[in-house]
Point group: C2
Chain length 473, copies 2
């Protein structure tokens, strides 16, 4: 469902002779691990995005840091763009190739290299997905908490500074990557950070690369923090008369220091969709989904404290349980939210966008957005990682209706300006890619020049995922 | 107690004509708020460091971001170094002026600009100290948790990526700064980050500036995360037969997910010093000091869980209490550690250094260091933020004994190599300044070139706190 390319703010030109030479060298060097068929190329440009597909000229399936170095050196020599690819689940055109170039697919680099159980960390390759990693860790009593919904690769999650439902307790990728190995634009291999839990030894290159979306370097190894699987987990759902009272309960819960693990808001339309899709009978009103991690006594205490807060804020009964099977059922609606949304309008496509605001502004932002949606006539339920002030709108669009697509695009623009004007950000966890570039000047002002200076210093020929995050000028 | 200047790795030259002009302009512009007396200049070069004093040529007491811009522009025009100054409590020569220049003292910029209680954040000027901030917050039910010991300015704490005793629970400055305003080398004012709790909108300039020690920009405003004052606090001390069993208890505590707020290790010599200084009768053996934050039931449960773990690891009785006055007494020894150390050898000076290693290597690192200390004949107790793998050695040195100073310097070098070789870092929280520059190549390798490229891109004339962190070439 391509939207207008004008939205991409890209003025990149293809370096045809360079691409031709690089493709030839890579094809010879990597044999069957170099693909240039249209299907594979388009699959590597295609993501779960609303942006037009811009396929790379070739895809290399890399096996090691050394191979990534080799590919980068070849591309650097011929000034050919390089686009790293994990699972392709990014949402804002991160893996598109607006000026062509080579996609480096790291999905074969999916091994766990080390688990240091005593230090609660592990060393992994970037292509492993979060589910693969947690499957591997199952017998250690440890887990990797970041859960962006999609079964993304951890390399891609680091590159986009992903988070998800339990960031309110465990933080985002910024908080859970201890160290990185990255291949820079000149082919040099850089190790950022150590396995020490903290350091004051110089510039924080780990945090600079996390969220840089492949525009500064290609992540080829990650040292990740792990967490002990909690002794007990309790969870439940709680209805509220309106979004404001639900948000007030969230604010009080966090102020009280209740270490809530997950706290999700679904608006009325989303709850309706979930009831229909998941055959539930939730009250069709703004609803919080909660989860608590701790000791058996601890999660009971947390659940009871939240019940009292919810009641004070005008919420309904907080139905909670620490039994795994019941909890799964209660949370089912939240987990099925995406499919439930599609069920609201069969044949449509969902355009997913996210913003994040200070929690004190969340009710206002959600309500204004609700009125905006109603005025447009769009069908667009909202769910939010409300403990962080982060919420998502899924806009159901008829892919063949140009007018509707334009309406959706204009709505997304207003949503982003609204969040920025409320001291928030144009993306809490999806990243910039191509889709959010146009909002960065308003959000960052002069700081965008600093980003550009860093980009230019580290990638003077602009070959690392060009046309993403930082506009060329 | 100056050590050999050769250790500083500095090849900076003074720009005499530029300094003369800038001093003249600033003296005229700022009148009484410009100081060039020897005493004030030396006080701004002097810190609690073992390095020789290198005084700036003048000190400006700035009142606003706009004034900092003005000072930076004047210095930039004449290529004169600028050294930001908070309280001067840094330990590695961070505020020295090896090539002269202007110290910008921000201690007058110490206001709380906003408290957003609902969002658990506040906006402050950089000169406010952590104690001043917590005093201001007293009636809000919130507090700012980072406690590096010294009553440092929050600007300086951000600049050095400081942490302290409760980082194991609340994180470091990297985790508690939401956004910054900084004046860059060209005088531009940059706002990094927003008040949203998380963001994926571009390069993480907040985290790049945190820990950059004034070498990239001068912090003039900070948005800090706050935390709810816990309903209950429990704390206590627990003796162990050796460092290894104490470290094992720490590892199990963290693996169990007990959200310990503070967990400090004192070695036998430190406990002896504390007994003598604070008139206590602690068992003279490696000892853990712990603190738990939570609900009344929660801290009781945490204390009991830890007691069981300590017993399993061969520890003695964990004496704990949730009564404030008793807790204060139990923790007194830890709080008085620095003074107690000085009492071990009256007339000596304490050289404080810190390293940080993976927790699994901590016992080994501490034990090797203990043997090293014994072999040198130095008096040097150790205390550690053991939950992070971070520990400090305080070396008591006779300021007039050149041989002893050389012995101490060589010991510090071995300690740093040892930590780096154990996959750790040469500084967990003190920062690089001048003193740790020589370790960065071994710790970071090729990544140091990336740091230099960033420094050069953002400060091409090398006027921002030159001679710190990144060697000039």
């Amino acid at each position: 469902m391509p939207m207008s390319p004008a939205a991409l703010h890209m003025h990149l030109t293809r370096n045809e002779p360079g691409i031709e030479v690089a493709v030839g060298i890579l094809a010879q060097r990597f044999g069957e691990r170099f693909a240039s068929s249209r299907a594979i190329r388009e699959q590597h440009g295609h993501t779960t995005t609303w942006l037009p597909n811009q396929a790379p000229d070739g895809v290399v399936f890399a096996d090691s840091t050394e191979e990534v170095v080799e590919i980068v050196r070849i591309c650097a020599q011929h000034k050919v763009p390089i686009i790293p690819f994990g699972t392709g689940s990014s949402l804002e055109g991160h893996v598109n190739a607006p000026a062509g170039g080579i996609s480096i697919d790291v999905s074969r680099m999916n091994r766990v290299l080390k688990v240091h159980a005593e230090d609660l960390d592990c060393v992994v390759q970037p292509g492993i997905t979060r589910k693969q990693l947690n499957e591997f860790l199952r017998d250690t009593g440890l887990f990797f908490p970041i859960d962006p919904g999609a079964d993304a690769s951890v390399g891609g999650m680091a590159a986009t500074r992903a988070s998800g439902t339990n960031a309110v307790r465990y933080g985002t990728m910024k908080d859970n990557v201890l160290a990185l190995t990255a291949v820079m634009a000149d082919g040099s291999v850089v190790h950022t950070g150590t396995r020490a839990k903290k350091s004051s030894a110089g510039y924080d290159l780990t945090r600079l690369l996390v969220g840089s979306e492949g525009t500064l370097g290609i992540i080829t190894e990650l040292t990740l923090k792990l967490h002990g699987i909690p002794e007990a987990i309790a969870g439940g759902v709680c209805p509220f008369p309106d979004v404001e009272s639900a948000c007030n309960a969230v604010i009080l819960t966090i102020q009280s220091g209740i270490p809530v693990a997950r706290m999700e808001l679904a608006d009325t339309l989303q709850v309706k969709a979930c009831n229909a899709y998941s055959k539930l009978d939730l009250q069709e009103t703004p609803t919080l989904f909660l989860e608590f991690h701790g000791t058996t006594a601890g999660v009971r205490e947390q659940s009871e404290l939240f019940s009292a807060i919810a009641a004070d804020c005008g919420g309904g009964e907080f139905v909670w349980t620490d039994k795994a099977e019941d909890r799964t059922k209660l949370w089912q609606a939240r987990h099925d939210a995406y499919w439930a949304v599609l069920g609201l309008r069969p044949g449509s496509k969902a355009v997913a966008t996210d913003v994040c605001v200070p929690i004190s502004r969340l009710a206002e932002c959600v309500e204004e957005t609700r009125r905006d949606i109603e005025a447009t006539g769009l069908i667009a339920p909202m769910v939010g990682h409300v403990g962080d002030g982060n919420f998502h709108v899924s806009i159901l669009v008829d892919p063949d209706n140009a007018e509707e697509k334009a309406t959706a695009e204009a709505f997304i623009e207003r949503l982003n300006w609204r969040a920025i004007d409320m001291e928030g950000t144009c993306t809490g966890e999806h990243g910039v890619g191509q889709g959010k570039m146009k909002y960065l000047k308003r959000e960052h002002g002069e700081a965008l020049s600093v980003m550009r200076a860093i980009k230019t210093a580290l990638d003077p020929d602009n070959i690392m995922n060009p046309g993403k995050i930082v506009p060329a000028s």
